[in-house]
């Protein structure tokens, strides 16, 4: 900069740096205005180390050649051999994952364009069975609305930020919630009207959407139009089935077997799961009606229920505690959090969350407060959540009889209104409100 006066050189330098900044800003703005890629389903890698699924870098043929060469040697190097064999497995797993993605895409489509095989779609004469593609299309895709006001993209409008685009319960909001939002991919739903090992019916899913889950972050969507709720139910079922199928295909990858890719193989695998969903309506628990009780009869039932509650046979106190406050348990975890151990916790999206047995004196019932709801909780348990099925079934004749269960129901219903359940002055009480 010889010959330039100091301030001129400062100005030039400043001008140059200014131009540089301007260019950088323009580039950033241009980049930011490009469209993001369409949403994709995420692979279910919960608990799995992604590094295990990376291809080794050498082709299968090259590896086979080298293995053959080493095996021919008089004194084969065991270490090298096992290394090469590991590389082969890594290749197989990586290929397996790719095939898995292809299979799932072929079977289920994308979040913007969902799809189910023709064989799984509803037939006009059996509307309760199978999937309605039109409803799926309404629930899927980005949020928008048609001319007549019909909402499209319902899942993303109402559900995605908790339940995630794949239904994995890991949306952006999920990390802040207690309990976590449901992971649909196991196909396990807690509050159903069906027996212990059965899927929920469409009505069960509808009930959950409509009344929400009291005491959790799952809100009530009762004010949505009926058609919207139907579409969302369909989509939840779709995500669940997709998740189950993914787990099934993943077992092939884990075992090192090739992932089935033909239509027939995939369909038969799929039918295993779809048929369980289709038969859910047959598994609804309809309790015997309880006897009509007058006041003393009801009190007697409550007393019988109380005795049964404290009895070891009913197994209530070990979780709910002798006073029903939910303070009886050692650390327990639901099935979604059980899988998280110290070694694999890093490969899960959310930290391990403990289960809270219900405080029965609060009057808040997550699965519904009707007597029939409470009956079903005791009869069939709460799937995935360590509340065991206590009722009598053909497979378990020693379970609780209907009368016993009704006694327990009456007892549980009476708990919030016992004098000991009051807290503080009624005017200032907050959460023990039976609401």
């Amino acid at each position: 900069m010889m010959g330039l006066s100091p301030e001129k050189s400062t100005n030039r330098a400043a001008g140059e740096s200014l131009r540089g900044w301007a260019a950088a800003l323009c580039l950033l703005a241009a980049l930011g205005c490009t469209k993001a890629d369409p949403a994709q389903f995420k692979l279910n890698m919960e608990g799995l180390d992604p590094a295990d699924f990376v291809a080794s870098g050498s082709t299968d043929e090259a590896l086979a050649e080298r293995i053959a060469k080493i095996e021919q040697e008089p004194d084969p190097d065991e270490e090298q051999l096992s290394e090469l064999q590991n590389a082969q497995s890594a290749n197989a797993r990586a290929k397996g994952l790719r095939d898995l993605k292809v299979a799932l895409h072929a079977l289920f489509g994308t979040p913007d364009e969902p799809f189910v095989l023709k064989e799984l779609q509803t037939q006009p004469d059996t509307p309760e069975v199978g999937f309605d593609l039109a409803k799926l299309r309404r629930a899927a895709g980005p949020v928008s609305s048609l001319e007549d006001g019909t909402q499209i993209g319902l899942y993303r409008q109402h559900c995605v930020h908790c339940h995630g685009i794949t239904g994995d319960g890991v949306g952006p909001t999920a990390a802040f919630l207690t309990p976590y939002p449901r992971d649909f991919r196991r196909g396990i739903f807690k509050f159903t009207s069906t027996s212990e090992s059965a899927k929920p019916t469409k009505d069960d899913l509808k009930r959950t959407l409509k009344q929400g889950i009291a005491g959790t972050a799952m809100p009530s969507f009762a004010l949505l139009p009926e058609a919207d709720i139907d579409a969302l139910v369909e989509y939840v079922k779709y995500l669940a089935l997709r998740g189950e199928m993914e787990t099934a295909l993943m077992s092939y990858v884990d075992a090192g077997d090739p992932v089935p890719l033909t239509h027939e193989e995939l369909l038969s695998e799929l039918q295993n799961y779809a048929s369980m969903w289709d038969s859910a309506a047959d598994e609804v628990i309809t309790p015997e009606a309880p006897p009509e009780l007058d006041e003393p009869g009801l009190l007697a039932s409550i007393e019988a229920g109380r005795k049964l509650f404290l009895d070891a046979k009913a197994q209530c106190v070990q979780c709910h505690g002798p006073t029903g406050l939910g303070d009886g348990a050692e650390k327990r975890f639901d099935v979604w959090n059980e899988a998280k151990t110290d070694t694999n916790l890093a490969f899960f999206s959310l930290p391990k969350q403990q289960l809270q047995p219900r405080n029965l004196r609060s009057g808040v019932y997550r699965g519904g407060r009707r007597p029939v709801d409470l009956y079903r909780r005791i009869q069939a348990g709460i799937k995935g959540a360590q509340m065991p099925s206590m009722g009598q079934t053909p497979a378990k004749p020693s379970g609780l009889t209907p009368t016993e269960i009704w006694n327990l129901v009456h007892y549980v219903q009476s708990l919030p209104y016992e004098p000991t359940s009051e807290t503080g002055s009624p005017e200032r009480s907050i959460q023990r409100d039976r609401n």
Binding site: G212, A214, A217, S220, L223, R370, V372, Y417, D433
Partner: protein, 258 residues
């Protein structure tokens, strides 16, 4: 030429008034009011609107007029060298003070009616507990007492009979929420640790003649977390018969054993 700037400023009163008139005539105005006290609030709103509107137009026009007339390039006279006017200061202190005092005192009765004069014998009592992110509503049931086994519970769905005095006991389970009924001009924060009475009477079901029930939005109007926008409830105003039927229905569902 530079006096043309005053024309830009002229757009303010013109467009301002035009936007208000256009909005009021094209459905972009206050929602239908169906409450007994709502018309007082609407009247006071319109009163403020007219008063401030007149002051707005006059002062903006004076500003524009001065900007136009006293532009240096168009106005050759020497400036009026003055430091103010004592008399003017008195005038434009006293008149606004009197006006403002009047506006304040004029409205006190309306406020007292909505917030201070708690009715002693309401026709319907209902408890509304706000929580993240829903409205948990409880009717006292046949015995008329809250906190007993026959209480009727519902979520986000508040039904009231038309023409009857309703008393809402407003509570919150966790954080601050706000019970806002736009069509009844009701708004009250729900504070955890307090039970706040909110009372209203829906004068008619809706503006549609012959309607026996109509639904209105219940909005949460105090930031309560990420789901603040999701706390949509509905207020259903209906005839006494429909209301009784609703309660009976609730009871039946709540006691369902099948």
């Amino acid at each position: 030429m530079s006096r043309l700037w005053s024309l830009l400023f002229l757009t303010v009163p013109i467009v301002g008034v035009w936007v208000c008139i256009w909005s009021a005539n094209n459905g972009y105005w206050m929602p239908d009011d169906i409450s007994s006290h709502g018309h007082t609030i609407d009247h006071l709103f319109n009163f403020c609107l007219w008063l401030t509107g007149v002051v707005f137009v006059i002062t903006e026009l004076v500003l524009v007029w001065f900007m136009w007339k006293y532009d240096a390039k168009a106005h050759a006279e020497p400036v009026k060298y003055t430091h103010g006017s004592h008399n003017l200061e008195i005038v434009w202190t006293i008149i606004p003070s009197a006006t403002l005092l009047f506006i304040a005192i004029y409205q006190m009765n309306a406020w007292a009616n909505v917030k201070m004069r708690v009715p002693t014998d309401p026709d319907v009592e209902v408890e509304v507990v706000a929580r993240q992110f829903e409205w948990r509503i409880r009717y006292p049931g046949k015995d008329g007492v809250f906190n007993t086994r026959d209480d009727l519970h519902t979520v986000n769905d508040l039904h009231v009979p038309v023409g009857e005095q309703v008393m809402v006991r407003l509570k919150s389970q966790d954080v601050l929420h706000d019970f806002f009924l736009p069509h009844l001009r009701i708004k009250q924060d729900a504070v955890p640790g307090m039970v706040i009475p909110v009372w209203f009477k829906a004068e008619r079901v809706s503006n549609v003649t012959g309607a026996t029930s109509a639904a209105y939005d219940l909005v949460c109007a105090e930031l309560c977390g990420w789901g603040h926008y999701k706390m949509k409830g509905q207020l259903v105003v209906e005839t006494r018969d429909e209301y009784e039927r609703f309660l009976a229905d609730l009871e039946k569902q709540q006691e369902a054993t099948q």
